[in-house]
Symmetry: C2
């Protein structure tokens, strides 16, 4: 029996990576065990009172340690570890401290600073003789380190006699981790307009994001189908544009989401997509919307219903600026998105107001569009934020946008280089890698053989194989701010949010946290899958309905369910 | 205002079908309303005590009427109906009765009879002056009629004063429905071996099935990855073959599922898939399994781990027969499946025991396979049940199976005709229409561009476009017993059961209940979608995490989100 345990711990276990997701930048580990003391504590050695959200994060971590009840994913689960664990040294405390205590800020403060001033780095060491330390430059770094620590803890169930409590333990000690994100913007976009998500679903998704160290909630909050966002300036927008008065986000809902996200190290980047995708504004301000609900819809919009903010209309432009001003005050990210995808030309050319303006001023549609975008961007900048747009704003139109405008590349990863060549900062959002909704068939009704426009399904493997620097020159690397996983909600709602997003979105999270590429060998699918299984089983234990990526049989046997011929 | 209401009730509402799914065979309806009395009751006018499960079904129906809180899917939801509803006649009772009261049996009894003796037909009438009657030949027919009635009830919320309770009401009265299923076998297959489903998830799925009038739970309970089914004869099977002792189905679990299903008009058809797909038996009876876990797995099995019951091994054959005997006693369907898909030849040819038998007896592999199948089928027949097999048992092997063996066609709908030409009864299970798991990417780990083997995703539209009699001669129509929707669980578990299955599986349910085809025009995608939306919104209200098929905006506007060019 002892021999068997030894066999497992030297072959199978060392062959397996310990279970952390995303993978830390530097990660030295041994082959020993420590078990947590019954009164295990996390102590802060700050000279001053720790901020409330750090105290909460510590309490959450302790709770997770006690409630994950996660056994290692190996045949026999924790059982082969039993003898080693029972003989292991005891770890009484995790000591956390800041490198420089001159300025201790809340996690929320650190999370919502400009990216250049954010610092998520941390160091975590666990020695074989039962000393564990977590150090960081900021409380945000400590938060990331606490998430890492929680993922190191495994559970050994009561022994057969049923007399003792669960034992919580760590494997692979001594362990030393030095960690920081490769890229500062690691997001999850949720479309809450095609179908509505209650705040509790958003909260749950924020939790899942924090387990993967994602740090930006890109909230595509309104669109042509519905306007759920309550505006103090224009209360009629949600009053008439939301699906119902139970399906709105009040100012206090948004404040809650922003605050809760910040406590998890996540900033909220609102998007008010314009001038396209705005048909829902017509319910309250019909004068501002061109081609509203015009048929056939496919001539006027990417999907029904058609409707775009009138470009030549000065009241409409003022309206858009004031809206964006309000959005800037509501959200916490240093970035704010004005959208700008899929602007339909025919909608404008057939609109009497817009065509009159074109003629009267003898300008082009792009001139009007440029003025419009410039207007909303000035409202964004006045609040100290940086504007974000979808790729068409720089690739399909000549608007002369400033170089600091952040561009999200969504149509295809092949367009990344063209955006970089224009000198814009880039957030990856490629539909060919990161669109969670692809591959679920056509959602238009009368199409028996209809496909998703972005077929096929983007598997976790596909997302994981993404190289953020592919096809860029060395000098262009600095333009890459990060990337996002995106959920458009034509065929999604709170019913499938967890299952469509998780654990797939975690694959992208590691791409942007850990960095590197499959080609250069810093990340490998075979090495990643066992860790991703671990993340998924923990997420389920934490209340996320994350789906199994494989039969449980495979999750217990790393490598056993790889394809026989390695395609790489 | 009155004019506006009138406009809606004469144009939009009559243009829309009332919301029933599956669509009844005969369905006459007017344009009036009745509202349910506050003390609305369902009274049975049977001369004898109604069976317990019928009493329960009535109580459930009343509960649903009160708790669905489903408003019509139209702009304004129930509001445009308010004046008509408030002025409508009151319906005090639904009277239910049996045509012939000589033999009143429980729903459970009627559900588990041979198909030729089952009768699910019912008649439901609601008159404009507030009389509603439900009549059927059997309690099972009454159950189907009660489901129909529950789908007719809409909710009008409290008026603005907030003084009155919700009003429950029916539209489209007077209404007369005559209904019966086109086909007797309408199933949902769940694989509980690749990943485990707790009994409460199975129960919830049975409820969803009953909302769509599905009547067969095909329980693919064991497979190569795990053996969760506890056997009294061979307790070691689950003791060593289940994922854990918390992930098994005890005899009492199975009894519960069978009983609960029967109360919902659903029989349980167990499948013990053999001789392939049986590697999990090796954990307890390794002598009976050939090529167990042999690598490379792709040479020996369709997926890892490899393992098949030894054909030439008399103990293994006896073991299989006794297992099948026990399965026959556990399940309630008149059918029982011995599986038989994906038998791997190389596994047997390299197995010393099997090759010795082949040589010693100078027989072919198909001879041995035929003897094996004949053995397990005789165990099935001894319990008065009919054997079911996957298509390979008649298309890939010459086993001389009796004509009454039911064949499930899964590889492709193109194979239906070949099975019919051999004279076998057919259950449709075509992967190109009814596999819920298709299109989710490869589940093998190391495949960045891997596709699901049965790409693309099978949309509800695809399933709905199925014609059960396609490519069959008129004389072969009688061979079609029905069809199933199937969930293989390599990438599924309780986390996504609801969202991967519903409402898609309801599309197939209407194909097999209502019958007809798109080609002959008896069913139409455009007409179906609004009703399917209704089914989905009700299912969500009833606790099923059924996903939205479209933006809510589309669900409120039938036809608005069809493709502009009708592809049919």
């Amino acid at each position: 029996m002892r021999w068997a345990v030894h066999l497992i711990s030297t072959s199978l276990l060392t062959a397996r990576a310990a279970a952390l997701w995303p993978k830390p930048q530097r990660w030295e580990r041994g082959s020993g065990f420590v078990r947590l003391a019954e009164g295990f504590r996390i102590t802060s050695s700050l000279n001053q009172e720790p901020p409330d959200d750090l105290v909460n994060a510590i309490e959450r971590t302790l709770k997770r340690i006690e409630h994950d009840w996660h056994q290692p994913l190996q045949v026999g689960r924790a059982e082969p570890d039993r003898l080693s664990v029972e003989a292991a040294p005891v770890l009484g405390t995790l000591q956390i401290s800041l490198v420089d205590e001159a300025e201790v800020h809340s996690i929320a403060f650190e999370t919502t600073r400009p990216y250049a001033q954010q610092n998520e780095a941390y160091k975590l060491t666990v020695s074989q003789d039962g000393v564990a330390e977590l150090r960081a430059n900021t409380t945000l770094g400590l938060l990331r380190g606490l998430e890492t620590f929680s993922q190191l803890v495994f559970t050994l169930p009561e022994s057969a006699e049923g007399r003792r409590d669960h034992i919580f333990y760590l494997r692979k000690v001594p362990m030393s981790i030095e960690d920081w994100p490769a890229l500062p913007h690691r997001g999850f976009m949720l479309d809450t307009a095609r179908n509505f998500y209650p705040v509790d679903a958003i909260d749950r998704n924020l939790q899942a994001m924090s387990y993967a160290k994602l740090n930006v909630f890109h909230w595509h909050v309104v669109d042509s189908q519905a306007w759920p966002l309550e505006s103090a300036t224009f209360p009629d927008l949600a009053r008439y544009g939301a699906y119902s008065q139970d399906e709105t986000y009040s100012a206090s809902d948004v404040r809650h989401v922003v605050r809760y996200a910040a406590s998890l190290g996540i900033s909220v980047m609102l998007e008010l997509d314009m001038p396209g995708h705005t048909a829902s504004i017509a319910s309250s301000f019909s004068d501002y919307i061109a081609c509203h609900n015009q048929r056939p819809w496919s001539a006027y919009a990417a999907e029904p219903p058609a409707g775009q903010i009138k470009l030549g209309h000065s009241d409409a432009r003022e309206f858009a600026k004031r809206l964006m001003h309000e959005a800037a005050l509501m959200s916490s990210s240093p970035l704010l998105s004005s959208g700008g995808d899929e602007v339909n030309q025919r909608c404008y050319l057939e609109d009497p107001d817009t065509s009159a303006a074109l003629e009267a001023r003898n300008v082009s549609l792009d001139d009007l569009l440029g003025e419009f975008v410039e207007g909303v961007h000035s409202a964004i900048r006045k609040q100290g934020k940086t504007p974000v747009v979808w790729e068409e704003m720089v690739l399909n139109h000549e608007l002369g946008l400033d170089a600091d405008v952040v561009v999200m590349v969504w149509i295809s990863s092949a367009n990344v280089r063209a955006v970089a060549d224009k000198g814009h900062t880039i957030v990856h959002a490629a539909s060919d890698y990161f669109y969670l909704d692809c591959g679920a068939g056509a959602w238009l009704g009368n199409t028996p053989n209809g496909r998703s426009w972005c077929d096929p399904f983007k598997s976790w493997q596909k997302a994981y194989s993404f190289d953020p620097y592919h096809n860029l020159t060395k000098a262009q690397h600095r333009l890459v701010l990060g990337g996002e996983t995106l959920l458009w909600s034509e065929q999604a709602g709170p019913e499938n949010l967890d299952s469509i997003a998780w654990p797939r979105a975690a694959a992208a999270a590691e791409v942007f946290w850990t960095g590197g590429s499959l080609a250069e060998g810093r990340r490998r699918l075979q090495e990643a899958l066992p860790r991703l299984h671990d993340w998924r089983y923990r997420a389920v234990a934490r209340g996320i309905q994350a789906i199994p990526l494989q039969p449980h049989w495979c999750a217990l046997r790393p490598g056993a369910c790889d394809a026989d011929e390695d395609p790489l």
